[in-house]
Amino acid sequence: MLEIRDLHCSYGDAQVVHGASLTVGDREVVALLGRNGMGKTTLVRSIMGLTSPQVRAGTITWMGDALLGLKAHEIAGRKIALVPQGRRLFPSLTVTEHLTMLKPIRTKTGWTADRIFGLFPRLAERRMNRGNQLSGGERGMLAVGRALMLDPELILMDEPSEGLAPIMVQHLEGIIAQLKAEGLGILLVEQNLYSALAVADRVYVLETGKIVYEAQAEAIAKTPDILTRFLGVH
């Protein structure tokens, strides 16, 4: 289980996260909602141990072990994978190379390139295309596929539906549901409320760096005032 307690993060003197706490259980999809600039990506980057932002205070534990102080590659080695905002593919690498750089192509255990292609047949058709030759939807699929090649137990998805057509968002929701069924925990950072509610078990709302609301996903759908108050959704 991922547990964040009273986390304070900043970029230089600018504090962005003010005492946020949340948990993600095994086989649980947790959505972290919030408008632009509320600190969602900062929180995710802090979990992954990426250089900036700086964590000023608080704890992040995974399976009972502290993650703070570990380097990003050490955190990834603990089976936590990131699907970054904007996908962040490698422009010059092909789809196949994106997947096989993480694991020898001969590997038969866990997630393999063939298995990813089974999950995303569209990527199989594009296997020889480079990262900069893919559409937004394909880039999103590849970013998820690349993360899966780490054989993660927890995936942090930073706005995976950003810029996707509604049909692709639906496909992504289906993938998230399948991954959950496979036993993965998922922290889904989203601005797309309805997409998040479609797949999440629990929802947190982050506002100006603080968790201001937490509820089961079914409950939040029944409280429109909350949606209006925190997310500006009508």
Partner: protein, 325 residues
């Protein structure tokens, strides 16, 4: 996570050269094998020099083209290997083959030291730091007259009997160059090579994917130094003389220009770049004493009209032609 979500598709293709590339490689190899039949002795010697410097340019391409770190100290790594081979054979009376092994080892160790200091930098800082490290090596070689002979340099003991003939020596160098090139090609197309390209494009992305980026940079630098060491050891046998000019900055610049002229990140461009520069040096200098100006002008033209290098540009043109057809 043991059961696949969907039944698997046919296996993914391995990274392998296409048939067209293999045909071209066979043609080039045949031409290289036939070269001594067509050229006189001196020109065979230039062809041998081109092969040796192609290996050095490839070692630079490993870093500049595949990791995105442009080094300016590889002349020093190359030259140290040359120094060790000649010192071992001429001053200590050791075997040439052991000396070559020691030269490569020394170059690899020096590259490891360079790497430890340089891998945390990038861009112009990496360039300047490797330049400074190369200058230190040059200074040491210049001042340690007891060992290196200072400005007078060291003269070797000559090539072994069976390598004295230009043609035999050319074939011997070709015999080393082909497998070395193949090994480098496999290296840059291995999963490790993919991680190098990933690091070139985004270090933070690679870190979040679980890669120890400094360790990978270190290993890439050491591998590059190992290859430069091979070139340096071959150069010791070829030139049979070493002086501080072998490790000086101009050596590093010249080898970097070979990599850039051929096309950074193309690997085989190193051969084209080395051929272009060494031929220009040797041919133009016959006609004019101002050959460095001609060389400079050529670089300027290449940088303006083919900044991707000759091979890089050729690839772009071929891709365009293929799209049109």
């Amino acid at each position: 996570m043991s059961t696949p979500l969907v039944s698997a598709l046919p296996p993914v293709d391995r990274a392998a050269p296409t048939k067209r590339v293999l045909v071209w490689l066979c043609i080039v190899l045949a031409a290289l094998l036939a070269l001594p039949l067509l050229l006189p002795g001196y020109q065979i010697s230039i062809a041998t020099q081109i092969l040796i410097f192609s290996i050095l340019a490839m070692s630079i391409d490993i870093l500049a083209g595949f990791v995105g770190r442009t080094p300016l100290g590889h002349g020093a790594i190359f030259g140290v290997s040359t120094y060790v081979v000649i010192y071992w054979t001429a001053s200590l009376g050791g075997s040439l083959w052991v000396g070559m092994g020691l030269g490569i080892l020394a170059a690899t160790l020096l590259a490891a030291v360079f790497a430890l200091l340089a891998i945390r930098t990038s861009g112009v800082y990496f360039l300047l730091l490797t330049l400074a490290l190369g200058m230190i090596v040059w200074g040491v070689c210049l001042r340690s007259t007891g060992i290196t002979g200072g400005e007078n340099g060291l003269r070797g003991i000559g090539r072994p009997g069976f390598l004295v003939d230009h043609v035999h020596f050319y074939y011997a160098i070709l015999l080393v160059t082909v497998p070395v090139t193949w090994i480098i090609w496999r290296f840059v197309h291995s999963p490790f090579g993919l991680t190098m390209r990933g690091i070139r494009e985004s270090e933070s992305r690679m870190r979040s994917l679980g890669y120890n980026v400094p360790l990978h940079l270190f290993l890439a630098f050491v591998a590059s130094g190992f290859v430069a060491g091979i070139a340096g050891a071959l150069y010791a046998v070829f030139n049979d003389f070493v002086s501080p000019s072998t490790v000086q900055l101009s050596q590093s610049v010249s080898a970097l220009l070979m990599a850039i002229t051929g096309g950074v990140g193309t690997l085989f461009g190193a051969f084209v770049g080395a051929t272009a520069i060494i031929l220009l040096e040797n041919v133009v200098s016959v006609f004019t004493a101002r050959w460095p100006s001609v060389l400079g002008l050529t670089f300027v033209l290449i940088m303006i009209f083919a900044p991707e290098g000759i091979v890089g540009r050729a690839r772009i043109l071929l891709a365009k032609r293929r799209r049109r057809s």
